[in-house]
């Protein structure tokens, strides 16, 4: 467990020393989601309707931006080899990297989402559901994305391949995440959708690090 936190601390330290990469994804999220209200114009009813979809798709794409670098730098400088040869189980270290990735690229999206949601005339209840959904859903994106990042490690043109591989896996998260806000808006209550999101999180927390580890071992051979 200590090793897991050590990896997380290391990755956060590295992220702090090259801030531009982190900020790029964040600004991307802010700009993409702000373009929609500007393009569509002052039609509150329409904006309220598209808000969850736009914010969630924005979050998916912003997560995609940083995914490729998740293991690439460690692979290039040989640190990944050292991790694979460490007495600490690799799955634990992968878990630490996942946590760091989420803290750097997922958590800021969750924090920004309510602010950006205001542009779409969302009421307080919808904003709360949106934020809660993102809080449960963005870790799933990091966990599933890590599998794709590990599988495309060292592949030429890996970036495009990674999107093709990972975006379909993101679909359930997108459907339940955006669906939660729609359900809340139509008065059905968001509990069902959020529970399903939480189930997705539990499932990927359990299986994704193992799948990522297996993919990394193949990439290292």
């Amino acid at each position: 467990m200590k090793a897991l936190l050590a990896v997380t601390r290391r990755d956060l330290l590295l992220a702090m020393r090259r801030k531009s990469e982190v900020l790029t994804a964040l600004f991307f999220f802010v700009i993409v989601t702000s373009l929609f209200p500007l393009g569509i114009g002052p039609e509150p009813a329409l904006l309220r309707k598209i808000a969850p979809g736009v914010l969630w798709v924005g979050a998916l794409l912003a997560t995609m931006l940083g995914l490729q670098r998740m293991f690439a730098a460690d692979h290039a400088d040989g640190t990944l080899e050292q991790m694979a040869l460490s007495p600490t189980p690799l799955a634990l270290l992968v878990g630490g990297k996942n946590l760091a990735h989420w803290l750097v690229s997922g958590l800021p999206l969750v924090v920004l989402a309510p602010l950006l949601g205001l542009q779409f005339d969302l009421d307080a209840g919808s904003l709360a559901v949106l934020t809660l959904g993102l809080l449960i859903g963005t870790p799933v994106l990091s966990l599933l994305g890590a599998i794709g990042a590990a599988l495309t490690l060292g592949v030429r043109g890996g970036g495009v391949l990674l999107s093709l591989l990972v975006l379909p896996l993101f679909i359930p998260t997108l459907i339940f995440g955006a669906g939660a806000v729609h359900a809340h808006q139509s008065g059905l209550g968001a509990t069902g959708h959020l529970s399903l999101l939480a189930a997705l999180l539990a499932l990927s927390l359990f299986f994704a690090p193992w799948a990522t580890t297996a993919a990394l071992r193949i990439a290292l051979e």
């Binding site: 090793a3 990896v7 090259r18 040869l85 460490s86």
Partner: protein
Amino acid sequence: MLFSGLELSAQAGEWLHVRGANGSGKTSLLRLLAGLSQPAEGEVQWNGEPIEREAQAYRRDMLFLGHHGAVKEELTGAENLELASELDGAELPQAEALSALRRFGLKGREDLPVRFLSAGQKRRVLLARLVTRKAKLWILDEPFTALDTKAVAMLGSLVTEHIAQGGTAVITSHQAVDIPGGKVVEL
């Protein structure tokens, strides 16, 4: 296939000098020994057990330093050493990391991000791990590249000390290495 019918062993207090032309498979052999890749046939044993069976124990006893720097350019030398040993689940006091770096002639460079160091100095940061990580088996791939004569001598005495204390090492190198107890493996 790079090699077949290869059989080699090293006892405590012995070291193997793996030699061969470029592309003869020295690095591949070392990666097999480290467990980074699997042989098509046969097995690698440590303490009489296949390394996959007691993988965790083997990894605790073994330190592999490959071609790559395996140091993070954005971190300082001391941070690199401390974090590397924390990943292995061991705490490394800062004083110990600093003394290891000083031993490798990096006094005054401890707080510089590694990116500002020269190739040889980066290599020294990596080799400082030999001191901070107490492993029984050292697998070193071309450890003498980019090192100046002083550092080569220092590394030589470090390996000699390790061997004398009952350690084992597998080293690839094109140069003749002046360390007692060596067996040459020609690929």
